[in-house]
């Protein structure tokens, strides 16, 4: 293994990424900031039917939609009279490697194979690693997964340890790293040394692969109820889940279904901190990813992130760690489904949101994930206790990430906290101005791009930008 320095490799970043994704992002540039997002996605050549055909070859997708009748009944017991929408869940744990991430991995690995790459590399500590490893195994490609896996004392996060095992079970090489964003340097170095395909979570293939989820979901809800879902809730981290699902729903004609993102609130914990690493109790679906990625998607490992959640979000809520552990237990004991826990973030939100809606409304949680050793509330809560984090029953509003996990005492205590989307849009626009080259005016093309990015109008974009510039200059 060569050992090119951090600075040398980071300086070659653009060239390494271009070679490893096999996509020329330059051709989509429009204006100083904007790019043709729709064309980037449609140029993949995968419409829903083509994607479905590729995914069915490896038994990805076609997962059951399950009505959670007991949980719905429980919500109605604590809701105001007449309230308590029907709650459904798309059981994505039924995918070959146990999560919806198989949909994201399938097109990437298919592309890598078609284009003659000898292997694939992905930087991920979560389900996506197992998905890429599983798909690579089926395609006969080599696979390397780069994980942030343990702290400086060598203590591994149990859920990531399970992912290491799963990836190795599928025949992948797993490079396990201690905590830090320099993982990206190791990732780039590995891409350069191997010449393998970059199965990034944020390429167009990864996002288009999720569209089948939204499409299937809409079809199944219609088949079971005769209607489109009123609310679809996705656990939200890097933004792909929200983006791909919403696109699939629209393509299926479910244009009025509200797209809601739910994240576990981890405020106060630093994502690059060696100390905080094992104090999060969640490895994904949390605000440590969703806040930075929603306010600026182009911080990913590709030049233009195909996951652009602000384009699709109708609502963004957070729930607490304790609420997710509580609903995970309820799902097991009332519905006989042991899943998650990370995927149950949106179920915790659904339980609260269903109580805002009339009984005939339909709320869909769009994923589950497999559970197992390490990847389970027991493993996380035992680790939390060992680290001195208090675990107790009580009011979930007293939950404090890294210090105290408060498991609700009663289902009526479950709630959501709304994230102000206008504030998020403003934050996005602040990032946008910062990335505008000095002296470059904001063109009309850019104004329209930013309006589409924030689901506002070009005049609103200009007004906010003028306000922000007035403050900063």
């Amino acid at each position: 293994m060569t050992t090119e320095s951090y600075a040398t490799i980071m300086a070659q970043r653009a060239a390494i990424i271009r070679a490893s994704v096999g996509l020329d992002y330059e051709q989509y540039v429009a204006g100083a900031l904007g790019f043709d997002y729709e064309r980037l996605l449609t140029d993949t050549g995968y419409d829903i039917e083509t994607t479905r055909r590729v995914q069915r070859r490896t038994a990805v997708g076609d997962t059951p939609l399950v009505e959670l009748r007991q949980i719905t009944e429980l919500a109605r017991r604590v809701a105001p009279p007449g309230k308590g929408a029907r709650i459904f869940v798309k059981d994505e744990a039924a995918n070959p490697s146990g999560s919806f991430k198989d949909r994201r991995a399938s097109l990437s690995v298919h592309e890598a194979k078609q284009r003659g790459y000898a292997g694939v590399v992905a930087a991920t500590s979560g389900n996506y690693g197992a998905a890429v490893a599983s798909q690579a195994a089926k395609a006969g490609l080599r696979c390397i997964i780069v994980q942030e896996a343990f702290d400086s004392r060598g203590v591994a996060q149990p859920e990531i340890e399970e992912k290491t095992r799963a990836c190795e079970a599928y025949g992948a090489e797993v490079m396990r790293l201690s905590v830090g964003p320099e993982l990206f340097y190791v990732f780039l170095r590995t891409l350069k040394e191997t010449g393998y395909f970059n199965a990034s979570l944020y390429t167009p293939y990864s996002i288009v692969g999720i569209e089948t989820l939204g499409d299937e979901l809409a079809g199944q809800v219609k088949e079971q109820t005769g209607r489109n879902p009123d609310v679809v809730i996705a656990t939200h981290a890097g933004g792909g889940n929200v983006t791909g699902t919403a696109r699939g729903l629209r393509k299926a004609g479910a244009v009025n279904s509200a797209m809601v993102a739910a994240s576990v609130d981890l405020s106060g914990l630093h994502m690059a901190s060696d100390r905080d690493f094992n104090r999060k109790s969640f490895t994904t679906g949390h605000t440590g990813f969703s806040m930075p990625f929603t306010t600026w998607p182009d911080r990913a490992d590709v030049p233009r992130n195909a996951a652009r959640p602000l384009r699709y979000l109708d609502r963004f809520v957070t729930v607490t760690q304790g609420e997710v552990f509580y609903i995970t237990q309820v799902l097991a004991e009332l519905e006989g489904m042991e899943r998650g826990p990370a995927g149950n973030t949106s179920l915790a939100a659904a339980f609260a949101i269903a109580q805002e809606l009339d009984e005939d409304r339909l709320v869909v949680v769009q994923e589950t994930e497999y559970t197992g050793a390490g990847k389970h509330p027991l493993a996380q809560l035992n680790l939390a206790k060992r680290l001195g984090i208090e675990v107790r029953r009580g009011d979930p509003r007293d939950n404090k990430p890294g210090e105290r996990i408060v498991i609700p005492e009663h289902p009526s205590q479950l709630g959501v906290v709304d994230v102000d989307l206008d504030r998020i849009r403003r934050e996005y626009l602040r990032h946008a101005i910062q990335s505008l080259p000095a002296g470059e005016p904001l063109s009309d093309v850019d104004g329209e791009f930013l309006a589409a990015e924030t689901r506002t109008s070009p005049s609103h974009v200009r007004k906010v930008i003028d306000e922000l510039c007035g403050k900063t200059r």
Partner: protein
């Protein structure tokens, strides 16, 4: 000097990727104070002892070098003991569903 471990044994190696003084500028102080470390598993390419600088063949077919730290490393993650704070939730919600509806 430890006992020789046979060529072909499944092992784990460690390697410092970035020493404590050379971490990226944006990392917080606690992370900056420790090295970035890598651990990878593979098949040992020549007989060696624990602590030796060795070469392994990974499952991706790559040859990587590092310090030999573990022989046939175990997966030790588990569930752990039942957590009392979760143990009664099932009975609580089942009891609620058995109660007659109020409205």
């Amino acid at each position: 000097m430890g006992e020789a471990i046979a060529e072909g044994t499944w092992v784990e190696i460690r390697r410092i990727v970035l020493p404590a003084g050379e971490r990226a500028p944006q990392v917080p102080a606690d992370t900056r104070a420790v090295p970035l470390e890598m651990r990878v598993k593979g098949f040992l390419l020549a007989p060696a002892a624990l602590g030796d600088e060795v070469e392994i063949a990974t499952r991706a077919g790559r040859r990587l070098r590092g310090t030999l730290t573990q022989i046939n490393p175990a997966y030790t993650h588990s569930f752990g003991a039942p957590v009392p704070e979760l143990s009664t939730i099932g009975d609580e919600v089942r009891a609620m569903l058995r109660e007659p509806e109020e409205n």
